[in-house]
């Protein structure tokens, strides 16, 4: 059985005398392996004798690494007197021809305008995103209009698969988070209400805050993190592996086959998740209220319709649908912008989730202003 040749190699060495006219004779193996651990001493030694006559004929093996080391020590030129074996000749000819690697992108020189131009770049970037996002939105609307007259072309299968993945599979995690938030909220409110003897208002507080705000926002944030990232990554990987191009040349518009089903599915699944999240959070709140304030379940449930106008529920569900559409659009937008390399894939996915969550909260604030008169008794 053969062992590694590298383990049988002789150490490289440089032999010469102190007299400035004596030749430098190299022996041993000058390969990457033998050199790696002795770079510095050998380079220094070789540099010291660079003006002398060199004899490389007694070298055992020499590879590109050995040749490069000598070449650098000689100052990137052949010494005046150099004795080589014929096969070594080719090596140094190659080295003499090798080009410098192109400079890594130079850092921009600092200038007083740098902060201004950086702001400018950011603005251009944002405009680029907004226009891309608007194009995607327009494309989606056009797609819907186009297939509205022809329901057979609707990608039903993809829609139902997406509803399953983004909705049904998110039920457990949404339930867990909602239940805990419900308990915490109810417990903290109950402590305050007790001080004023206003125990019965726990129903109003929980009902309005959960149905109107917490349920929709909680569900949307969970879905943005869970499904938004996976949608971005899916489109990104399809870009990396040229699957998007394959779809395009097959005449299958990917906006129709990939983007639209995701958006429609989220528009359907997210309101349903909001409903689920509402119910579980209220359940958690009810349990905590029962423990902390001795409010019975029956009393809590029968008080709910009177305390909370039903408009709050509808408002929450409508928000869910809008959030769903936005999350779908944002994650597809970022997914389609991913460049065919892994780094861009990672960055795109992160940006997608951060943007989706930010937009959800922004739009929630807009809702709060626009509908401030609705559903508040």
């Amino acid at each position: 059985m053969s062992e590694l040749y590298a383990e049988r190699e002789q150490l490289p060495s440089i032999a010469t005398t102190d007299s400035p006219t004596s030749a430098v004779a190299l022996t041993g193996d000058w390969t990457l392996d033998t050199l790696a651990s002795r770079m510095r001493p050998l380079t220094q030694q070789a540099r010291r004798y660079s003006r002398r006559a060199w004899d490389l004929r007694d070298i055992g093996r020499i590879d590109d690494a050995g040749a490069t080391l000598l070449w650098h020590a000689w100052g990137a030129e052949r010494p005046a007197a150099l004795l080589l074996r014929p096969e070594q000749e080719a090596m140094f000819t190659r080295l003499a021809e090798v080009q410098k690697p192109p400079q890594a992108r130079r850092r921009r020189a600092w200038s007083a305008l740098a902060p201004v131009s950086r702001v400018g770049e950011r603005v251009v970037d944002v405009i680029d995103h907004v226009s891309g996002f608007t194009t995607l939105l327009g494309q989606t609307v056009l797609d819907i209009a186009r297939i509205a007259g022809n329901p057979a072309r609707m990608p039903w299968r993809e829609i139902s698969a997406n509803i399953h993945r983004t909705g049904a599979q998110a039920l457990p995690i949404t339930a867990l988070v909602s239940f805990l938030i419900g308990i915490v909220l109810s417990y903290l409110s109950a402590r305050q209400l007790k001080l004023f003897g206003a125990d019965v208002y726990i129903v109003d507080i929980l009902g309005i805050s959960i149905l109107r705000e917490l349920g929709p926002v909680l569900a949307a944030i969970l879905v943005a993190g869970r499904s938004g990232s996976s949608m971005t990554a899916q489109l990104g990987v399809m870009r990396v592996t040229q699957e998007l191009d394959a779809l395009a040349v097959l005449g299958i518009p990917y906006s129709l086959r990939l983007v639209l089903p995701k958006i429609i599915a989220l528009a359907i699944a997210l309101p349903l998740l909001v409903l689920w999240s509402n119910a579980i959070a209220l359940l958690g709140g009810m349990v905590a209220a029962g423990v902390e304030l001795n409010i019975g379940y029956r009393h809590f449930l029968s008080g709910l319709p009177g305390a909370v106008p039903v408009a709050n529920l509808w408002l929450g569900l409508a928000k869910g649908a809008v959030f769903g559409i936005l999350i779908g659009l944002v994650s597809c937008h970022f997914g389609l912008r991913i460049k065919p390399n892994t780094e861009s894939l990672g960055a795109g996915t992160t940006n997608s989730v951060v943007t989706a969550i930010t937009i959800v909260i922004l739009v929630d604030a807009i809702f709060a202003v626009l509908f401030s008169e609705v559903g508040i008794p």
């Binding site: 770079m39 590879d63 690494a65 490069t68 190659r94 021809e97 090798v98 690697p101 861009s344």
Partner: protein, 269 residues
């Protein structure tokens, strides 16, 4: 000659599909072994097992005397520094430039100064015929053939003693294939090099391979020098060498001024 790789009693199965059944193979020191076989016959799988990327279901794979399944992590690391692999689809790091792809293994040694790494990487790129103007490009900006060549440059970066090539000339134009053959021959002259090469390209096989292993029916139906192989009666070998393409390649090989290396088989399929 000593043995560099030995595969003994190798069995592989994916689900119900048997890929290899009791397969034995040795690769000798300093030779170029060509592996041929139909598409889906398990060539890449065999290669992955020689690389230790897949565990064989049964059987032993030894490289440089180390059993890949039982060797210590240190031994494996030392050994892996001495082989180079060209994957079927290149497997370049998509987030790194062409230059950085080739420089990465050199940088990982943490022993060489940066100017030397730069020269070595550019040398390797030069050797595979990639000009300096392509060095700052990203892999997604390269053509299929260029990806292959950059991947080969990366495989050669650490001066391997053992080179694994998975369809190295597939996707190359005829001229690049020829310069590839020349390159491997030069490397063999300059350094000791053992090559395991999967290929469908008869011209490459004829001009490079010292021995050929034919993978068919889940085992190696023939291993030997090319002129022995062509005389073996087996449907796959027949279709490979006695089809029109095969005849042309063999004829071209014999057409040289050199004395004929391969004797035409006397039977007609």
């Amino acid at each position: 000659m000593s043995v560099v790789i030995s595969v003994a009693g190798l069995c592989t199965r994916y689900g119900k599909q048997v890929i290899h059944r009791d397969l034995d193979l040795t690769v000798l020191d300093g030779e170029v072994l060509g592996i041929v076989g139909g598409s889906g016959s398990g060539k890449t799988t065999l290669l992955r097992q020689m690389l230790g990327l897949d565990q064989p279901m049964r059987g032993v794979v030894k490289v440089f005397g180390y059993d890949l399944q039982t060797a210590s992590a240190d031994d494996l690391r030392r050994m892996r520094r001495h082989w180079g692999v060209l994957f079927q689809h290149g497997a370049l790091f998509s987030a790194l430039t062409v230059f950085d792809n080739v420089a990465l293994p050199l940088r990982e040694l943490r022993a060489l100064p940066e100017p030397m790494i730069a020269d070595l990487a550019m040398l390797k790129l030069n050797v595979v015929g990639i000009g300096a103007e392509h060095a700052p490009k990203m892999p997604s900006q390269l053509s299929g053939g260029m990806i292959k060549r950059v991947a080969l440059a990366r495989a050669l970066a650490l001066q391997p003693e053992l080179l694994f090539l998975d369809e190295p000339t597939a996707g190359l134009d005829p001229e690049s294939s020829e310069s590839f053959v020349e390159l491997i021959n030069t490397l063999r002259n300059e350094l000791r090099l053992t090559v395991v090469m999967i290929t469908h390209d008869l011209d490459t096989l004829i001009s490079l391979a010292d021995r050929v292993a034919v993978l068919a029916d889940q085992r190696l139906v023939a291993v030997g020098a090319l002129d022995e192989i062509v005389n073996i009666r087996h449907p796959f070998i027949n279709s490979l060498f006695h089809g029109e393409r095969g005849q042309r390649a063999l004829a071209a090989a014999n057409d040289d001024t050199r004395p004929p290396k391969i004797v035409f088989p006397d039977h007609v399929p």
